[in-house]
């Protein structure tokens, strides 16, 4: 009986103690007409050896193509120590730290995580995590509407250069509460600042992604100041790796953004087919009572010894129920632990080196690919570690052909940005060096039918 320790003697003794004659008697309160015949369709049990073999076979079948896709998930090197420690039983198999005295490990990790995120973003208070970047963005919009005391608008102005899927997820999560996203249009791969100037002030918040989904760097100072001038809160969606190099949201414009959020996956989390990742959210102290999710605080015990505990819980569903800031309960705790260990290993210096390499490698990749006839940069903007390229032919078939040769060539922008034509978004992190870039360029020139 996998994972059930009971021997026949145990069962007999336990049934006797309860005073019933069979296991089935324990289910007598379930009306007979509701009983089902079992779960035969689930099939027979596999031993650990058998399931191991099966899963290994499936994993192997999927291969390990050379990947130049970014588009929200980035293939950074994850030091072995990160998950070795994060998956220690004491972290892996603990619950949310409700009993603080028996959970100081997890609580201190989160406090450290909060400190690191606050510092990376240049803002005051981080929560303990949200599900992923997309839901973190949605929660930021909801929070902004709740927090903006000067502007009761239920509209958020969102850059078209902000991740299309983040906008889609947010739209779905805001819809029930009647909050809508209004699009700030694109100009050469960035927010159209002229269009912004022409807009009125009827927004609870303005949201911009830096670097943008298209890889470009936005004029965040300008936009932040515009938002504040128009009684809107400013939401920055940011990539944590980039923050080792780029100006943090807390320093945008004259007063800084109010809320920063994003996807924490680049901080030591493997691509893992899309999850578990980790949404983060950090805000200015002024709006913390509208923050969703768990927060850990440092306090003292009755002997005066410092310790950590969940705090400001009156924002949360288990206390405030229908008036909570969010319904979130289980978050991405273990991933936060891994991200904390990653940041601790990297430090500011290591993270900056990673960021620099990403930028340099992407530069080399762009140079190598645009050397091919029929490939050109799509925009005339600086970029961080992702860049859009315009092809002289449809992107889909090119990607298919590359994939057959074991290269995942990038993300096809034509569905989400039809106005850009045949545009491909490519990314090279620090793990895609000269050798890999050469390999890509060579396969690409094959596909384009030109000599490398």
């Amino acid at each position: 009986m996998p994972f059930i320790p009971h021997t026949d003697d145990d069962v007999t003794a336990m049934l006797a103690a309860i005073g019933v004659t069979s296991l089935d008697k324990l289910f007598e309160e379930i009306p007979a007409e509701l009983r089902i015949a079992g779960l035969d369709a689930v099939g027979p049990a596999l031993s650990e050896a058998e399931i191991s073999r099966l899963m290994q076979r499936r994993a192997r079948a999927d291969g390990e193509p050379l990947c130049f896709i970014g588009a929200g998930a980035y293939d950074h090197y994850v030091p072995a120590a990160v998950w070795d420690i994060a998956t220690r039983g004491e972290f892996y198999s603990a619950y949310t730290p409700y009993q603080a005295e028996a959970s100081q490990g997890t609580l201190q990790v989160i406090y450290e995580f909060q400190t690191m995120l606050a510092s990376l973003t240049g803002l005051d208070v981080s929560n303990a995590s949200l599900y992923d970047g997309a839901t973190a963005f949605a929660e930021a919009c909801l929070m902004a509407v709740r927090a903006n005391r000067r502007n009761k608008s239920r509209k958020i102005l969102v850059a078209r250069s902000l991740s299309p899927v983040y906008r889609e997820v947010a739209a779905g999560m805001l819809k029930g509460q009647g909050i809508t996203l209004v699009e700030l249009p694109l100009q050469d791969g960035c927010c159209d600042l002229a269009a912004l100037q022409s807009l009125g002030g009827d927004y609870a918040a303005v949201a911009v992604q830096q670097p943008s989904f298209l890889g470009t760097l936005e004029q965040v100072d300008h936009i932040t100041d515009w938002a504040h001038a128009n009684n809107a809160l400013m939401i920055g969606v940011v990539n944590p790796t980039s923050l080792a190099l780029l100006k943090p949201p807390g320093q945008w414009g004259s007063n800084g953004a109010d809320i920063a959020c994003g996807e924490g996956q680049p901080l030591g989390v493997p691509l893992s087919a899309g999850g578990p990742y980790i949404g983060f959210m950090v805000c200015a102290a002024a709006v913390v009572r509208q923050m969703p999710g768990r927060i850990v605080g440092r306090t003292v015990d009755i002997d005066g010894k410092p310790g950590f505990t969940l705090t400001l819980q009156a924002r949360e569903q288990h206390i405030r129920r229908s008036r909570a800031t969010s319904n979130i309960c289980t978050n991405q705790g273990l991933v936060a632990t891994a991200a904390t260990i990653y940041m601790a290993l990297m430090g500011a210096t290591g993270l900056r080196e990673v960021a620099r390499s990403c930028n340099a490698n992407t530069g080399s990749l762009v140079a190598a690919l645009t050397a091919l006839p029929g490939v050109a940069p799509a925009f005339g903007q600086p970029y961080f570690h992702e860049a859009a390229l315009r092809l002289d032919r449809p992107v889909g078939p090119v990607l298919d052909a590359l994939s057959k040769q074991g290269v995942l060539g990038g993300f096809d922008l034509s569905r989400d940005y039809p106005e850009l034509g045949h545009t491909l978004l490519v990314c090279a992190t620090e793990t895609r060096g000269t050798e890999d870039i050469k390999a890509y360029a060579s396969v690409m020139s094959d596909v384009f039918g030109v000599a490398a």
């Binding site: 603080a100 190099l245 569903q317 390499s357």
Partner: protein
């Protein structure tokens, strides 16, 4: 035993890790950051030692019995982690071409099927990232269903007073109004009160069965008929599925939509607060509205993603990619190892353990909240009498249990039972462990009557003693600052 903060291992310029040598970046100066973020400056050894030590400050399933009600803290098999972390699964980009992911997608497809069987539903989407997000998806589907039929005035979601906080919070997030219905003294819903609030404004009702009170709602068929007749739909909060696997199913009870906490029933780890997975299953009515992406299959094309194109009525996406994929792999491995028989044994033995523990605690002098009822996979004890007699509260019991080497049960939930402990042993614990727990509870009870103050001093053997929560909230210290 405590451990300094990682920031206190400081030594300017030290770093823990040497990344691949950096190339020369090319970024305009005015985009650049001027200050250094406050990240640790610790060596790899410091970091390993620090977080290893911190881990030891935790209770966890792997070290302690953890009978936290409503949380299903069962054993998390190590092999599930091992196989979910196979290098190819970890290296897979979520947007990689499907021809490089057939093994992965077949696994998700089969998981969808197994969950359909377990819940008695027609179709499953694995994309919600926790129970609460599953609830969101469910209520959003209920709204989409009514809206699609032009039935746009249904804005009320009914929840029992015993409901988990995420239920009402979810209703609000979906723009609904919450209507609470009380529980009767026998633990079942007050159906007359329910009857009074059901009507044309009813979007639906959210229930978990067995309820958070640890008893099976016997009138569920009646409730289903009542709500359905009024045009509402039934949402099943699957946090308590452990108790009924293979015995009954939400589908059989008349529910239209259900979420399953894979991190409870299907043993994916809690990780100190997540990640989880709140897969949603739906009956025929809600099938068009299921959140994307989920995996479809045909014999020619193999496995492929359901998208906006294939599912135009879908409520859409709940995350940037495919939810917590790695959690799904773990649940799959676990379910395949159980097989159909093993899944039924889960409910047999989780319910056996709960009833045994309940009876033994009653014998030891504890008061059950619902003494006339069978326990499901969990049960509620009320310490009201002990508190009245001695001043020792449920909180005091919780802390004293820590000193005895047991994690505390859930305290003060459900809200309607005073001084309550919600106790869930799970099937993976042995009788010996349950007996030891009864022993500890009896000791503490005795000590409450002998020397209440001593119990109120607990815990004494933990890394810290009772923490000042008021100070934590009044003078929030939420990040460390360089001094």
């Amino acid at each position: 035993m405590t451990e300094q903060l990682i920031f206190e291992y400081r030594s300017a310029g030290r770093k823990g890790f040497a990344p691949i040598a950096a190339g020369e970046p090319n970024l305009p100066a005015d985009f650049l950051r001027q200050d250094d973020p406050l990240l640790p400056t610790a060596s790899e050894l410091d970091v390993v030692r620090h977080y290893t030590r911190l881990s030891q400050l935790n209770f966890s399933i792997d070290t302690h019995f953890y009978p936290l009600g409503s949380c299903t803290m069962k054993y998390n098999p190590r092999v599930c982690n091992r196989l979910a972390m196979l290098p190819q699964f970890l290296a897979r980009h979520p947007l990689a071409a499907v021809e490089h992911g057939q093994g992965f997608m077949q696994t998700l497809y089969e998981l969808q099927q197994m969950l359909e069987v377990a819940t008695g539903m027609n179709a499953v989407s694995l994309t919600p990232m926790a129970g609460a997000q599953g609830e969101f998806a469910g209520v959003a589907m209920i709204r989409a269903y009514h809206d699609a039929r032009g039935d746009t005035e249904r804005r009320q979601i009914i929840v029992p007073d015993a409901a988990h906080g995420t239920n009402p919070a979810t209703a609000t997030m979906c723009g609904c109004d919450v209507v609470e219905v009380p529980t009767r003294a026998d633990g079942d819903l007050d159906i007359d009160k329910l009857r009074a609030v059901v009507g044309p404004q009813t979007a639906g009702i959210m229930l978990t069965n067995p309820s958070t009170l640890g008893v099976f709602e016997r009138q569920i068929k009646e409730i289903a008929t009542l709500v359905h007749d009024a045009g509402g739909l039934l949402y099943y909060d699957g946090a308590n599925l452990n108790a009924i696997l293979g015995k009954t199913a939400p589908g059989a009870m008349g529910f239209d939509v259900v979420h399953v906490n894979l991190h409870k029933t299907f043993s994916t780890p809690h990780g100190g607060g997540g990640p989880g997975s709140g897969a949603v299953g739906v009956g025929a009515k809600l099938r068009p509205f299921l959140p994307i992406p989920y995996v479809m299959h045909d014999t020619k094309g193999g496995y492929y993603w359901a998208t906006e194109a294939t599912c135009p009525q879908s409520i859409g996406r709940l995350s940037a990619f495919m939810g917590n994929a790695g959690v799904l792999l773990r649940a799959y491995v676990y379910m395949r190892m159980l097989g159909s028989k093993g899944m039924q044994r889960v409910s047999d033995f989780s319910v056996l353990n709960a009833n045994y523990l309940m009876v033994r605690l009653q014998e030891a002098g504890f008061t059950l909240a619902y003494p006339e009822r069978r326990a499901s996979h969990e049960f509620v004890v009320s310490l009201k009498q002990i508190t009245r007699d001695t001043g020792v509260t449920a909180m005091d019991f919780a802390k004293a249990l820590l000193d005895h080497g047991f994690h505390a049960p859930t305290t003060y939930f459900p809200l309607l039972v005073p001084e309550c402990l919600l106790i869930e042993p799970t099937e993976s614990e042995s009788r010996q462990t349950l007996d030891a727990f009864v022993h500890a509870m009896a000791d503490i009870r005795q000590q409450a009557y002998d020397d209440a103050d001593a119990v109120k001093q607990a815990p004494l053997n933990m890394p810290v003693r009772r923490l000042d929560d008021v100070r934590a909230a009044k003078q929030p210290d939420l990040t460390w600052k360089r001094d």
